[in-house]
């Protein structure tokens, strides 16, 4: 129980982990994940890798939607740019750049390209808001996929049939095993969350929140809407690009249809379910969004007993489950799972003196 959260210096008061609960949780998570990497079975590692990649993307999306208040339905485009960027750079650099340094060049460059495209896609946000912006970003998603699928670019992108990505070689350490990939993804996921947290204890992050809450008031405080809206899009696109790069390495081959609207919607769904504009929102949201298809798969396996006519209902049911989740959360818990955990923590903290 925390009876007083008292600090003796401003530095202590500005920490991210400013109480013992948070410290215990984060350090505990690190230990748990290290144990997980060592002992979990291959299936769990596979699911956890998907969660980690998705988490990086959703944390990025949270910067734009949750903190800056700009709707985007096109973030799968940036994941595509990251994934294809890395793959194309690997293929271009093959032979001239040593394999052991290739990822150190390919990933940053792919992330930078994503950020640049993010700025371009963010341009409409200076004029339009809400639904209109959502449609404008939606267009970006379709344009990127369209370009990738063009025959003209097929020698680089592989067109409709997709392309293979080599396993990353980090200064001699070749990550050709999913378990090794998991370590890399987990490290990046932690780093992503920390970096975004850092943002929100400086003027840059505060400016984003100010724009979300009241844009004219932000302007009066000297916040340039042009600069910070585009910065927000760039950061968010960069993290999605990073997620894309990891995704390409993880799956070892990529197809354009992986990055279509369905993925953008999944990212937004994760954010709505988890809770927007909160650190833990993406974490909870991603766990739910990745678990739902897995649970459906297991349940269907048990129910259908191998009957193909039942099994083919699985894909549409999955889409319906996402739709149902979004509607359920928007109606009954619009602030997401974080709001539920907030209430539980508050109740625990006050127990036994008060309830709720």
């Amino acid at each position: 129980m925390i009876n007083g959260n008292l600090k003796a210096s401003y530095a202590d008061d500005e920490r991210v982990l400013d109480n013992s609960y948070k410290k215990a949780f984060v350090y505990g998570m690190m230990v748990v994940l290290a144990g997980f990497a060592a002992f979990a079975n291959d299936y769990l590692i596979l699911v956890a890798c998907q969660m980690g990649i998705m988490l990086i993307a959703v944390v990025g999306l949270n910067v734009v939607i949750g903190y800056t208040g700009l709707m985007s339905l096109g973030h799968a485009a940036f994941i595509a740019v990251g994934a294809y960027g890395v793959t194309i750079l690997h293929n271009l650099g093959a032979g001239t750049v040593p394999d052991a340094v290739m990822p150190f060049i390919a990933v940053p460059v792919a992330v930078a390209i994503s950020a640049l495209i993010g700025i371009v896609v963010g341009l409409p946000s200076l004029r339009v808001k809400g639904l209109y912006l959502a449609v404008a970003t939606l267009a970006a998603n379709f344009i990127v996929i369209f370009v990738i699928e063009q025959d003209l670019f097929a020698p680089w992108t592989g067109g409709m049939t997709g392309i293979e990505t080599p396993a990353p070689n980090l200064a001699g350490w070749v990550l050709d095993d999913k378990r090794e990939m998991f370590v890399l993804i987990a490290v990046f996921a932690f780093a992503t969350i920390l970096t975004v947290q850092n943002l929100f204890r400086t003027r840059v992050g505060r400016a984003f929140i100010a724009i979300r809450d009241r844009d004219y008031s932000a302007e009066i405080l000297g916040i340039s809407l042009l600069r910070f809206k585009l910065t927000s899009f760039a950061i968010s696109a960069a993290f999605c690009g990073l997620a894309g790069a990891l995704l390409a390495y993880f799956y070892a081959s990529i197809l354009p249809e992986q990055f279509e609207l369905a993925l953008s919607l999944q990212l937004v769904a994760a954010l709505i379910v988890g809770g927007m504009g909160r650190t833990m929102g993406p974490v909870f949201g991603v766990i739910v969004i990745v678990m739902v298809p897995e649970v459906i798969k297991v349940v269907f396996g048990a129910v259908s007993g191998g009957d193909p006519s039942v099994a083919q209902l699985r894909a549409p049911l999955q889409e319906m489950a996402f739709g149902f989740l979004i509607i359920f959360f928007l109606m009954f818990e619009p602030l997401g799972i974080v709001h539920i955990t907030d209430r539980i923590l508050r109740a625990l903290n006050r127990w036994p003196f008060a309830r709720g």
Partner: protein, 253 residues
Amino acid sequence: MLKIEDLHLSFGGIKALQGISFEAQAGEITGVIGPNGAGKTSLFNAISGFYQPDRGRVWFDGRDITGMAPDRRAALGIARTFQNIALFRGMTVLDNIKLGGHTRLKTGLWGALRYFGPAQREELEFRRDIEERVIDFLEIDHIRKVPITALPYGLQKRVELGRALAMRPQVLLLDEPVAGMNREETADMARFILDVQERFGTTILLVEHDMHMVMDICAHIVVLNFGQQIAEGSPQEVSQNPAVIEAYLGAAA
């Protein structure tokens, strides 16, 4: 300090401001009064850059700022509060006040993402400054971690003043700082405004309907009516001006 020169502003057929000219002297409190719809808030919006005047100029410290964007004007040192409180409601008092320092801080994107190093140093330095200069000064240290939504109206108004002070403004525009407050809260706010003027030497421009307060704390008063400037002078001169009594104060006052 702040000079308004022959300002005209219209929205379609409505002439919101018609030839307003006055000067707010450095370090003084200048009041702007007038009945509802007289153009007081329009005048503020023209000064802070939300409205572009049709004609006329706004001078700040000898510089023509008429065509400048709102955020650039803020960076020069013009801060304001709003009639209907424009705080960021989801954030805590501390974060709201920190936002006032936006233009004074230098941390860029890279520094912010890394945090440790220059960004942290700057943040902690800034934190100390606003704690000592703003939060202590306005006596709001007990609520610094409270979200805005949980605060009563009077305190919200005070936090908004705090956010403006965090900008270290040279000119402070206050749009009805005591509207809807009881007598005690009004007295508190009047005291804070006088303290700001005395301690920081800030030039203050004040729109207010509370005549007792305006007459007590303003050195100079400008009276507007239907977009026209009908009088200007010391509180005494203005309160005895027949045109002002006719338009606004009423005969009994």
